[in-house]
Amino acid sequence: MNSIIITRAGTHSTIQDFGRFQYQHLGVSPSGAMDQRIITELQKIIPNHQNQFLEFAYVGPSIKVKEGSVKICVGGNCNMSIQKNNNSQLECQPYKSINLFEGDELIIHNTIDSVYGYIAFEHGLGLEPCLNSYSTDTKAGIGSINRPLNDEDIFYISKDVSSWDLISIPKPDLEKITNFKVYPGPQLQYFSDNTLQSFISGVFTITNQSDRMGIRLKGESLISSKSHDILSEGILPGSIQIPSDGQPIVLMRDIPCTGGYPKIAILNEIDISRISQLPPETKITFDLQTIY
């Protein structure tokens, strides 16, 4: 048996995969990794990840091997190091597999100029799926582990590492953009041409009131010419909704399943991953695609 213990949980660490689908009509959010580009890349290094990825934000976790050994890989842009069992320190890099032995501790200090990072574990973390997914929705209390990770959480990985060969891939080019092409939202017609002009030409700042549910923006108020209260309807991640204060909210992975605010526009799937990595105070703009 191999086991690891969380020696420091970090700011907000959760278990995620590519999302929980087919349950949104029962009020269950899709959730899943905020930046799905990274776990897609990590699959190349740890193919047998069992869809049990650890997602961290800002300050990452520290993980110590309690028994046996594990093979892992970190993805994202972050500072990290390994405290070996003989007290020596080892440098390590994202997108290169890491072999950890009893007593070794991986310390992820923080993400750099980004928000989220991920750890893939060979053979997963010994978890059972919840509604066909390992993703965590902390607000609804749904997941293999239905809360953020805590200090002292222990994971048991029964299978041994298959090969100690070091595998790495070139650091993926996770293009950082701040100008987002968006498609018209279902309630685009709730906004006058002038307001739409403000949306397209305005600069919006990402605020620190942003989390896995949504990214709150600050900028020129976008007031609807009709109403900010619509009859609730199904929503999908990437939708940009405008509540009555006129400040846009980009809905992210832990969306409420239905929403009652008009949606002016929607991001495409890959841009949800891109925007999730922009820290507070980043300034962004939108470019409305008229043909769709």
Partner: protein, 239 residues
């Protein structure tokens, strides 16, 4: 037929539009269509019915465009619209004891009726399940009798007890678990309605009919102790 057409929702979603009004008959068409679309076994990630829309979500635009035609054809095929009844009719025990009826006085005062009248009115109607939303397993039921229509609380409660029955505007609901919320709380039911251990975790489904009947506190406690599973609840309280 309330169905108006199919619109795009970004690069990977579709919205089936049933107009801007809300009524039980619109909802019935929405929920029948929801079942028809679900039975098509589309390559969709989620199909979400609400009062007058169905949102269908796909992985990408290519899959969306391939599946759009199948939905259009189904919507034109009016013969198949007569769906056999697969929804359930529920008789749900409700305890309106003052320990649970946190806001019943607000409704009494607004409509100048007694507590017994609120209870009798609330348990007199067979409600329709418009859809499930807000939180896992939360049913939007309606419509309540006109003497019970009450706006949301001016200040939402931070912690509504699990299994509470609420009223807001023309709807009534059950909170599956502890939650913040603004509905007027008038009672509680003695069992959980959302169970993650079940492969189909929500007791109620869109289109189900739900009637409450009043039980005493001792009867409530008795049912509570049984700790029914979802399957047992279906056998015991639905037809």
């Amino acid at each position: 037929m309330y169905f108006k057409g199919i619109n795009s929702y970004g690069d990977r979603g579709l919205v089936l539009d049933f107009g801007n009004e809300t009524s039980k008959s619109i909802s019935q068409e929405v929920n029948e269509t929801f079942l028809n679309i679900s039975n098509l076994n589309l390559q969709s990630l989620n199909i979400i019915p609400s009062f007058n829309k169905i949102v269908v979500i796909f992985e990408n635009s290519k899959i969306r465009d391939q599946n759009k035609d199948k939905i259009s054809m189904k919507m034109k095929d009016t013969n198949s619209q007569t769906n056999k009844k697969v929804t359930k009719t529920w008789e749900i025990p409700a305890c309106y004891n003052e320990d649970f009826a946190l806001d019943i006085k607000i409704i009494q005062k607004l409509h100048q009726i007694t507590k017994e009248e609120v209870i009798n009115l609330h348990s007199s109607v067979r409600y329709y399940t418009y859809y499930i939303g807000f939180m896992p397993g939360f049913p939007y039921l309606g419509d309540v009798p006109s003497q019970l229509i009450t706006p949301r609380l001016a200040t939402p409660r931070v912690k509504i007890p699990a299994r509470s029955i609420g009223i807001a505007k023309t709807n009534t609901c059950i909170y599956p678990k502890v939650s913040p919320g603004g509905w007027n709380i008038i009672g509680q039911i003695p069992f959980d309605i959302f169970d993650l251990q079940s492969s189909y975790p929500s007791l109620f489904l869109p289109g189900d009919e739900v009637k409450f009947y009043s039980v005493s506190l001792s009867e409530f406690e008795k049912i509570r102790k049984y700790n029914f599973s979802l399957n047992e609840l279906i056998k015991e309280y639905s037809s």
